[in-house]
Amino acid sequence: MQQPPKISAPPRALRVDFHSSRGNQLTSKARIFTRRFAFYALLVLVAFVALFPIVSVLLGSVQKAQELYSGSSFFPTTFEWNNYVTAWNDGNFKTFLPNSLFYTVIAVIGILIVASMAGYALARIEFPGSKVVMFLILAIMIIPAPASFIAVYKVLVNMHLANTRQGYILVLIAEGLPLSIMIMRSFFVRQPKELEEAAVLDGSSSFGVFWRIMLPLARPGLAAVAVIEALHVWNEYLLALVIFNDDSLMPVQRGLTRFVSAETPQTNILLAATAISVLPIIVLYLFAQRNITQGIAEGAVK
């Protein structure tokens, strides 16, 4: 990557800015205020666009079925909190929610470990065949395979891992790897070489360099991958349906599909169940995003 040119490059811009701040003190304060107001107004507008469909989902989740379907009123006239109770019971959250938590936590930890190691190798180590491996991972990520779930299921059956939690988790990790490896790689690539070289001179092993220095630096990347993959795993359904015969092993999505039916639609309950099911992800995100923004603010090399 090139060295960026000296920052004070455009002198003309310099003069203009200097001039405006020198000039009218009062109007510049007003200008700052309006600029800030416009800035936050824009943020709020985008937040509105992001939230609006979701708010309608939440409002719908406490409506009676008839009211929801007829679309007669946007705001619920009666608050049917009972929908949530029905959703919890009929959606079998009691069994499915701990299952989903378990799968998500284990799979994400697995992905983080495996993907960060692989990403590090691809980013920082020059070795023969690195281009081939990268190309392969890219190809696997890109090319769609429509009936791959059948092949995956057969592999599990042959390994006697069908209808087991371990089997499911292994497949989840394998599925999330290509994307996570590419993301982790891009975060490792930006780190300065000098850190590594210094650590190696200090006598640290390769793994030590990786574990103690590069990984903490890539923490925002780790947090991002954790959130992305947690979401993937949490919303995954087809594999679970195919791999598990026992309802007791099923994840949360299984409970949700109970309310999706052309013959006996229960959309208001579905909305309530959806609201329940996205809560853990949002909690995870709240937790993780603090990690994303707690990056090393003090500078890369100390």
């Binding site: 800015d17 190691m117 070795f127 890109i142 599925e175 290509p178 603010a297």
Partner: protein
Amino acid sequence: MASTPIAGKAKPRSFASKPRHRRRGLEAYLFLLPALVLIGVFTLIPFVQGIVLSFQSWDGVSTDTPFVGLDNYLRVFQDNIFWSSMLNAVIFGAVGLVIGGAVSLGMAMAVNKAKRFSAFFRTVYYVPGVFSVVVVGMMFSWLLDPRIGILNRFLGAIGLDALQHNWLNEPDTAVWAVAAVFVWYHWGFGFLLFLAGLQDIPKEYYEAAELDGASPWARFRYITWPDLAPVTTIVSILTLLGGLKIFGTVLVLTNGGPGYHTEVPTLRIYKEAFQFHRYGSAAAMSVIFGLGLVALSLFQLWISRRSNA
């Protein structure tokens, strides 16, 4: 401070010492081992089987899968609907890349800069992506319903009746309506990665730049953009691919309609396999489509490498 080297891909000097080279190779593969094993067993095998299937004929259930040579590929080459659906894929890919990418980058930068309520905004902007595609499809089918949907009702209420459309069922608006939903649903992904990427840019650079009087645009162009380059590359590839491979959103909202106006290759592949029961030609379609995607991604990688070199 001025002597602090700036983060980036410095080209390593490879000392031609063979043992060290071999040791590094071994190290690399040790790091890669768990990933390679998992991918090899669970992803590569189905992948290879898919390619083999493209030369066979299979209805999904029967135990015999006779070899048919290039018949499937011939049929796919004559499938006009498949090829014309590629155009829609390109539209969705371009929209996802350009608009989706710009929106998520803009949002990430804005949220990064906001001092108040930043946690609130960070959460709210990511929320669209947490719902399953079925629920999102449901949400927007309602919102865009021509009679009882909020959008048309709102337009009517403020007197803009002329702008009311049957958004998902009119040929002129269907693709753009689906594209808009797609961007809404997927901007969280780029937003998250850009936000993470922005964290690593040391604040000193910006402070130094401000002291030197650089305009916001100059700060963006000379600090933010270059430093985000690896993240931008990966986000670009992923959002472009995501758009090209769009599936769930189209299926739920329009199922390729009206007519074939929102038909996309992934939907054709799905129908070929699961509705027409021709898994062999579906596999051939996947291979052809996949190769096109790989070529496009390599092209994009090449472009970004050139602009960064």
